[in-house]
Symmetry: C2
């Protein structure tokens, strides 16, 4: 098996473990309010690569963190990521009808239910982390919660979404675009990787190293996403493409050009790999992520 | 000064202390994403009675909890309550243009910004609670976070909003309406009161007692709110009235009638007062809340 085959197996294993945990922690549909439970589950159990759970589980695996702890943390970041997709797809935001090849939550239910389902997913992320099964130390749980709130909040992911909204109205330079990406998608990647070191109580040096890896990995992810938006088809990606260009939004591709952006992605990928050096063979799957991202087609 | 004058002073003091804390904990407008900070502050600094902060501060005051801890917890519940109003006012939900006599957040900004501002307020509630300044014990902070997430989540406030959405489509009996109210508005009152006992590490008996007080106080609040919806004018309440009737929604007023609902509110208020008995003079302001709610005009 080549190394990308190993990565595919690791991704699949992380996805299955996280989905089993999500099945347990999400409320089953019941009562007069069953529609909210159904909408939350519809949004969560929609396939997807489960890339953030993979990062949590692999980074926790660098330090012998107990599986159940990593999986609950993986579930928390996945519900948080999913809430952001549900709200982002709303008519007032990106107005997307399709997500992973099927109707978005507000299309399958209605707008009000989608708003509430997103709110419910955001809320349960913190409930999962606060529970003693996530870690016996309350100090560790509080650190995870504080970091997730920071990464997802008004100066993190939500701030990035706000910048994205004003992006069409002004001229962005490369630095602005990098800030947008670092906040909008990078922050959750940073949390996912750092969480492994927090769960292990491995100390601030490992936290900083894994955040640096995540930051670069996130940039590679974003540049290749922007490249796909320009070069791919809706059939391959399962969502609308060409949207950035249509909206006149600056991306690293529009600034550097297709070949320039590819070169930049390769350079940043090299830096990401260097950050993993101290972890040797344990970081094999994380390492394989970079060539995978550089060559992905969806 | 009569006792309602004392309550007015206590409410005002709690509101001012909480607003000073909110001023410090909410991010100041800055950067490319300043619009999100502005919208969050617009929604928060809109006046309002700050009833939930008052409950946190008064219940913490039953046990000698340090002021700063009670105020941070009060700020957390107020941002969470405010997020629920911002999302509830959206066109897809209640579609309200006015809140406390001025444009709702999506009217003053736009829908996308209001969705994100609500998300940002919900997120920062947990960030505030996770911070060591809220309580030196991480176990206490985690308990506050777990309880708030439960109270605000899909089986709490959000569940109540979901039930409210389906309320116009079916026939509700008194029990259904009580469940709706207990979830939609009651859960945050219960958290606010119980938080005082959690901050004091006073034990589960006090937690249960203050939750019981809050549950009954919340029902009185809701019944009088429903009565105002039927009997008051938009001028007095600063928001649209007669909406429940227009939407054909069952309330305790539509089930019991105006006089029947008034009698029910009085009976429940008596039970709420009885729960406060062990706290003597320290519970004076909490006690005064009941006659205030029973006679309020806005």
């Amino acid at each position: 098996m080549n190394s990308l085959g190993g990565l595919a197996l690791a991704l699949d294993k992380a996805a299955k473990a996280t989905e089993a945990t999500l099945e347990r922690v999400l409320p089953p549909p019941h009562g007069l309010h069953s529609r909210i439970h159904e909408a939350m589950r519809y949004a969560i159990f929609a396939g997807g690569k489960r890339l953030r759970p993979f990062l949590v589980i692999e980074c926790a695996g660098l330090f012998d963190v107990a599986d159940a702890r990593a999986r609950r943390t993986a579930a928390a970041i996945e519900v948080l990521h999913t809430y952001s997709l549900v709200h982002d797809d709303l008519p007032a935001m990106d107005n997307d009808d399709l997500r992973r090849g099927r109707p978005t939550t507000h299309k399958a239910f209605d707008e009000a239910t989608a708003i509430l389902a997103g709110d419910g997913l955001l809320t349960i992320a913190f409930e999962i982390l606060a529970h003693p099964e996530t870690h016996p130390s309350a100090a560790v749980r509080c650190q995870l919660i504080a970091r997730l709130a920071e990464a997802a909040g008004a100066n993190g992911m939500i701030g990035g979404q706000m910048i994205d909204m004003v992006a069409a109205e002004r001229t962005f330079d490369a630095e602005d675009v990098m800030l947008l990406q670092r906040l909008k998608t990078g922050q959750l990647f940073e949390f996912s990787c750092e969480a492994g070191a927090i769960l292990a109580e491995a100390g601030s040096e490992h936290q900083a190293r894994l955040r640096a890896f995540a930051r670069d990995m996130g940039l590679v992810f974003q540049i290749t996403d922007d490249l796909l938006d320009v070069t791919s088809t809706a059939e391959k990606t399962g969502k609308a493409v060409g949207k950035d260009q249509d909206h006149g939004k600056a991306t690293l591709v529009s600034i550097y050009g297709i070949e320039g952006a590819r070169a930049e992605a390769k350079k940043i990928a090299g830096r990401a790999l260097a950050a993993l050096e101290p972890y040797g063979a344990r970081a094999a799957a994380l390492r394989d992520l970079l060539p995978y991202l550089l060559t992905r087609e969806s």
